[in-house]
């Protein structure tokens, strides 16, 4: 093998500074990028079955029940009654290094304005990409109250972007949430999140919710569009949803 001329090696070294070659964090970075790419690709053979769908509903129900039972969640208890719809994501997993990727599943239930009854859940898959200073992996539980009719109706089209143009607010926490005087909103989306791990700036901003027809089918046992489930809350009823509907019906009760 002929050795590269010294000036060529110097040039090479300038293109790929030694510090990168020797950086011990490189395997970690590679792992981060690999994990981010994996999250973006649908894994083969991982279609949801009915039990997986039921698990999403159960976890969503427990998350909202825990939030409602919290002594500091007066605001949430009062505003669930006023919300047009509720979106619950039991686990949004985010992984990020400079760029971030978010993935998860969620369910939406809509309140019938005439009867005040909650619909059955429609399943949505969540995907998001973000930029900015961020590092780490985090799992977040999100409950979002959809206060406006327009935003609720947008979900009926099977795709919703939590992004520019959406009035997206972080729900009051701590003392502000405890105070019963915090005003009730009439439009927009208010999200409350509980995060594990270390991830800064947990919001729904930049996340796209897409109707998950295959999970709808697994749960209901027949092909079902999210629009059908949400627009006909009186006719589409699955026995397994009774518990989450009960939890939302009792949301206003003082624990």
């Amino acid at each position: 093998m002929i050795a590269a001329p010294l000036d060529a090696r110097a040039a090479e070294s300038r293109r790929f500074p030694r510090i990168i070659h020797c950086n011990r964090s490189r395997p970690i970075l590679s792992a981060f990028f690999a994990a981010m790419m994996l999250m973006l690709c649908p894994a083969p053979g991982t279609a949801m079955d009915v039990t997986d769908a039921q698990e999403i509903v159960d976890n969503a129900r427990l998350i909202v029940a825990r939030m409602l039972a919290h002594p500091d969640m007066n605001w949430l208890r009062r505003n669930v009654q006023e919300a047009k719809a509720i979106f619950i994501a039991p686990a949004i997993v985010r992984i990020g290094y400079l760029a971030g990727v978010a993935k998860g599943e969620g369910i939406l239930l809509v309140k019938d304005e005439q009867t005040g009854q909650w619909s059955d859940p429609a399943f949505f898959s969540l995907m998001g990409v973000s930029a900015g200073l961020q590092i780490g992996i985090a799992r977040t539980e999100v409950v979002a109250l959809i206060m406006g009719r327009d935003e609720a109706d947008s979900f009926f089209r099977g795709r919703f972007v939590f992004g520019p143009g959406t009035a997206l607010a972080i729900g009051p926490m701590g003392a502000a949430a405890k105070a019963a005087t915090t005003p009730t909103l009439r439009h927009g989306i208010v999200s409350l999140a509980k995060a594990e791990g270390a991830y800064a700036g947990v919001t729904l901003q930049g996340v796209i919710a897409m109707s998950d027809e295959s999970t709808n089918e697994a749960y209901y046992g027949s092909a079902m569009r999210s629009e059908d489930i949400l627009a006909h809350p009186q006719t589409i009823r699955h026995w397994y949803s009774a518990r989450i509907r009960n939890t939302l019906d009792r949301a206003g009760e003082d624990p």
Binding site: D58, R66, A69, A242, P255
Partner: protein
């Protein structure tokens, strides 16, 4: 020619016979019984919290009784098991595993009763092998016994709650309370039916019934008990943890039933709630049947019965739980006394917190429930601080009325 015809006839008849036998073979994967199956006339299932006999504190675990007392309780339980001879027994708080469950099997064998056992440890502390452990006395858990010739096979030790740690028979690492379910299959002799059976011991937490909590809520609504919301939050957390445990167990059992064609499900154990609690409603909404309520029975048996069971510590002299002392701290002496009295009365109240729950278990049979474990030793102590529930299933051509689900 005649010989050829004869051969053709024999071959044809043989083939027909084989094909008929094939058609008539019971489907090993199906829960549907063959009409010719010879099922037993009766079938008995027991659930019983056997009491581990340990003293558990914040920093350690130690024996809470003498070896002689432990042996007396063991002998008393064996005598009662031998008397009843359950086909299946769900036992909780069996400690230490596997020695204790093997001892049950051995002692029953000495009495001429052949049982198989499977087990799952749910409290292990830190254990590296059978002999080396941080808390040598602790390897507590769940056991299912099945009387031969019933076939018993462990399917899973399913963790229901608790993130930090795992327990196995001979090793474990537990940094917080873990809750498990032990899931097994049984095949009834003379039958192609396979049933799912499971036992569990759900999270306990602050033990107080609806009326005591309503009493505290009424005091709070009068402007008293400033820390009431904190206590209520803790109570709700415990409830939601148990509900999550029920959901997880149910999903797993239903998935197994669906994917592996099991004929039915029966699970039982110390579920740590009462029939007017939200956890019970959860079971109803999940379409399970509390076998206590079959055939129009309205009331169950008190499996935790302080006035009757001398192994339950006297509530009048027991220390108050820290959650309650935190609640009344800073309140006036009169109010403190009232709440303490009400709590002690609550703790003396008999309750049913153990259940046998089914989903199409043994179709064509009806269960009759009775209480188990009332017998005492010569000084008046039973074998555990719980009583058990015994379901005696009998063939019922007319079927029996099971309560509707919500």
């Amino acid at each position: 020619m005649t010989r050829l015809l004869r051969m053709i006839t024999v071959v044809t008849l043989s083939l027909a016979s084989i094909s008929c036998q094939t058609l008539g073979l019971p489907d090993q994967q199906s829960g549907i019984a063959d009409v010719s199956e010879r099922l037993p006339d009766t079938f008995k299932v027991l659930t019983y919290n056997a009491l581990h006999g340990l003293l558990t504190g914040t920093f350690g675990v130690a024996p809470g009784e003498t070896p002689e007392q432990n042996e007396t309780r063991f002998r008393l339980l064996i005598a009662q098991l031998a008397k009843v001879q359950p086909d299946v027994a769900f036992l909780q708080e069996v400690n230490p595993l596997p020695l204790r469950s093997e001892a049950y099997v051995g002692a029953l064998k000495e009495l001429g009763l052949a049982y198989d056992e499977v087990h799952q440890v749910d409290a292990c502390g830190i254990r590296t092998d059978e002999k080396r452990a941080l808390f040598a006395d602790l390897n507590n858990g769940l056991v299912i016994l099945a009387k031969k010739p019933l076939r018993l096979r462990k399917l899973a030790g399913l963790k229901l709650s608790g993130e930090k740690g795992e327990c196995h028979t001979d090793r474990g690492f537990q940094l917080e309370e873990l809750r498990y379910a032990l899931i097994a299959e049984i095949t009834i002799p003379g039958s192609s039916r396979r049933h799912l059976v499971a036992t569990t011991h759900l999270h306990s937490g602050f033990e107080a019934g609806r009326s005591f909590l309503a009493y505290l809520a009424s005091l709070h609504s009068q402007g008293k008990l400033s820390k009431y919301r904190s206590l209520r939050w803790n109570v709700e957390q415990s409830r939601l943890r148990r509900i999550g445990e029920i959901d997880r167990l149910s999903r797993t059992l239903q998935r197994l039933k669906r994917d592996e064609n099991y004929a039915g499900i029966l699970f039982g154990g110390d579920l740590n709630f009462e029939s007017d609690d939200p956890e019970y409603e959860e079971l109803q909404l999940l379409r399970y049947v509390d076998t206590t309520r079959v055939n129009g029975q309205n009331a169950g048996f008190y499996t935790a019965d302080p006035p009757r069971n001398r192994l339950i510590p006297d509530a009048m002299t027991s220390p108050l739980p820290s959650l309650l002392t935190g609640l009344i701290k800073g309140e006036g002496d009169d109010l403190k006394d009232d709440i303490t009295r009400a709590y002690r009365a609550e703790m003396q109240r008999p309750r049913q917190i153990d259940y046998l729950i089914e989903d199409s278990f043994l179709p064509g049979y009806c269960p009759t429930q009775s209480i188990f474990g009332l017998e005492t030793d010569e000084v008046g102590f039973p074998a555990s601080d719980h009583y058990g529930l015994l379901n005696s299933y009998a063939v019922s051509p007319d079927g029996c009325t099971r309560p509707g689900t919500l």
